[in-house]
């Protein structure tokens, strides 16, 4: 590969990572559960793109494997599973509420993303000369923003998506550090994610059936008698 083509691939990877960060912000701020899910799908596609581009850059079959696993499990199987187990929550309700209002949540998210710079850059420097691109700091930012989503949301499904976004962030950082992760690990992580989705989906359905709502933020106190 020529030097210019290498530079182009590196920049495209950086672009995928930058858009990945933008979708993480979107997941924090989006009002609709369905919009959250769509952003998560976009995020997973960008993660797959980043993995494929890094695979191209380093000639690594394992990274293509990561891309393929991500392409199949997250954008296709996760929505399908959620549709099966919790479709009412996703497709009938429109607005969901948050602990903090959206501008506040976004400002905190910006602070976290800038904080990720201080966490990520020394880490990336420690990897060595073969590391390229902004994947590590952006992956850490994705992790932190997923955690923020877990904190500010009060509904079960966005909470689940926050959890999955955290996993995506860790993945994005991981693929740029370890170019040849063994395939077994990748598959294990992918199935783990699916099992989480399945369990939480069933849980959401059970909660909705028992309590009549999925606003789990309001279920913090024990109370006797009818609600």
């Amino acid at each position: 590969m020529s030097e210019a083509a290498k530079q182009l691939v590196v920049n495209l990877n950086a672009l995928a990572a930058g858009l990945f960060l933008l979708t993480s912000f979107g997941i924090v701020a989006m009002r609709q559960a369905r919009g959250c899910l769509q952003l998560f799908i976009a995020q997973s596609l960008l993660l797959a793109a980043s993995a494929a581009l890094l695979g191209l850059r380093f000639d690594s079959g394992h990274l293509y494997g990561v891309a393929l696993v991500n392409l199949i499990s997250k954008p296709i199987i996760v929505p399908w599973l959620l549709r099966k187990v919790a479709s009412a929550e996703l497709y009938t309700r429109r607005e969901i509420d948050q602990v903090l209002n959206i501008p506040t949540a976004l400002s905190i998210a910006l602070g976290l993303a800038i904080g990720a710079y201080f966490l990520g850059v020394p880490l990336a420097r420690a990897v060595g000369p073969e590391y390229v691109g902004p994947n590590v700091p952006i992956g850490i930012a994705g992790l932190l923003l997923g955690a923020l989503t877990l904190t500010v949301r009060r509904e079960a499904l966005p909470l689940l998506i926050g959890l999955l976004a955290m996993e995506n962030g860790a993945f994005l950082a991981g693929i740029s550090i370890a170019h040849d992760l063994s395939m077994l690990v990748e598959l294990a992580i992918a199935t783990d994610g699916l099992i989480i989705v399945f369990i939480v989906g069933v849980l959401v359905r059970a909660v909705a059936k028992q309590v009549g709502t999925t606003a789990v933020g309001e279920l913090a106190r024990l109370r006797e008698g009818p609600r």
């Binding site: 210019a4 530079q7 182009l8 590196v10 920049n11 495209l12 950086a14 672009l15 990572a17 930058g18 858009l19 960060l21 933008l22 912000f25 979107g26 701020a29 959206i102 501008p103 976004l106 998210a109 910006l110 993303a113 800038i114 710079y117 990520g120 850059v121 691109g133 902004p134 700091p137 952006i138």
Partner: protein, 339 residues
């Protein structure tokens, strides 16, 4: 600015005597040609936009030359000015009309090299001059004591002060990435080498600036440009009290402002190709249809956006511009993360 003066000085050193004088006169000429192009084609952009919008709704829509006819009609009508208004009301249409023309002198509309008046300001300066026109329009809306004027004026200010930090971050990021806020230097940065075009900071800046154009141009997720309901107006209600020539100038000025914003957006940020590279007159003339083609492509995207989204509630505009702010900040930190 230092780079810019150095550019001019080197240019001057390269050339001698009469040849240089001829080039300077050519540069003044091209600068005036730019102004003429902006004045002539700004109403066309508005006409094409409304026509395409109607066509997308399966209607026929007015002719694309309707804005010209409107301007012609308004210029031949009597002007009525309220007795209670002050000089600001009479002065504002000229200000609104002239501000985009001043900015046209500064930015690359047809050429990729700076023209005669371009040394007067960078992108930030252009933004300030445009804001001055908006400032006077707001004052004039309050001036007449028409009840709808101040509503629209305060709402425009609300959108304005939410958009302001985004503009600032966008310009900071541009100067951070390209090392300058002079549009002629910035536009070279994205295409040499071509890999720079796909840098995350560039693409995210393009996104953030698009949202800014929607907000500043009073386009649909923020404001409905074709709405006629005074209580829901944001941008439009500022010119409610104007009639005749004043109204024509306000309208034409608004269309030129939009045209100028598009020129900055397309020629500097999105597609810095197709501009005249040397001083040949034919090349500069050829740049006119190319620029119009770029603007047409943008208008297609704009019409799609406007037809597929609905207008946001007033207090959701904060969130829209918050999203623009986040996008611009992400553009900046993505550049930091690369290092």
């Amino acid at each position: 600015m230092g780079i810019f003066y150095a550019f001019f000085r080197d240019e001057a050193r390269k050339k001698n005597g009469t040849r240089r004088q001829r080039q300077v006169s050519e540069r003044i000429l091209y600068n005036l040609l730019q102004v003429l192009v902006v004045m002539a084609f700004a109403p066309l952009v508005s006409g094409v936009t409304s026509r395409l919008k109607e066509m997308l709704q399966s209607k026929r829509g007015p002719s694309i030359f309707q804005p010209y006819r409107d301007l012609w009609k308004l210029f031949h009508k009597d002007e009525i000015v309220s007795e209670d208004s002050s000089w600001i009301f009479r002065f504002t249409p000229y200000m609104v009309f002239v501000a985009p023309i001043f900015v046209t002198l500064l930015i690359p509309v047809l050429t990729s090299y700076p023209l005669f008046f371009a040394f007067m300001g960078d992108m930030l300066g252009g933004g300030f001059v445009l804001a001055l026109g908006g400032f006077f329009a707001t004052l004039a809306a309050v001036d007449t004591a028409n009840p709808y004027g101040p509503i629209g004026a305060s709402r425009t200010r609300m959108v304005g002060f939410l958009a302001e930090p985004v503009f600032m971050i966008v310009f900071f990021t541009v100067s951070f990435v390209a090392g300058s806020t002079i549009p002629y230097i910035v536009q070279q940065k994205w295409v040499t080498p071509i890999a720079n075009f796909f840098a995350p900071s560039h693409v995210l800046l393009v996104l953030a600036f698009l949202m800014l154009i929607l907000a500043e141009g009073g386009r649909i997720p923020v404001d409905n440009p074709s709405g006629h309901f005074e209580l829901a107006m944001i941008d439009e209600s500022k010119s409610l009290e104007y009639s005749g020539r004043g109204f024509a100038l306000m309208k034409w000025g608004g269309q030129m402002k939009f045209f100028v914003l598009l020129c900055i957006y397309l020629n500097v940020l999105v597609t810095p190709w197709g501009l005249a590279k040397d001083q040949a007159f034919a090349g500069v003339l050829l740049a006119i249809p190319l620029v119009l083609f770029k603007i047409f492509c943008f208008v297609l995207v704009l019409v799609l956006i406007e037809s597929s989204l609905s207008k946001l509630r007033l207090f959701r505009i904060t969130e829209f511009l918050g999203a623009a702010f986040v996008t611009s900040v992400v553009a900046m930190i993505a550049q930091l993360f690369l290092a």
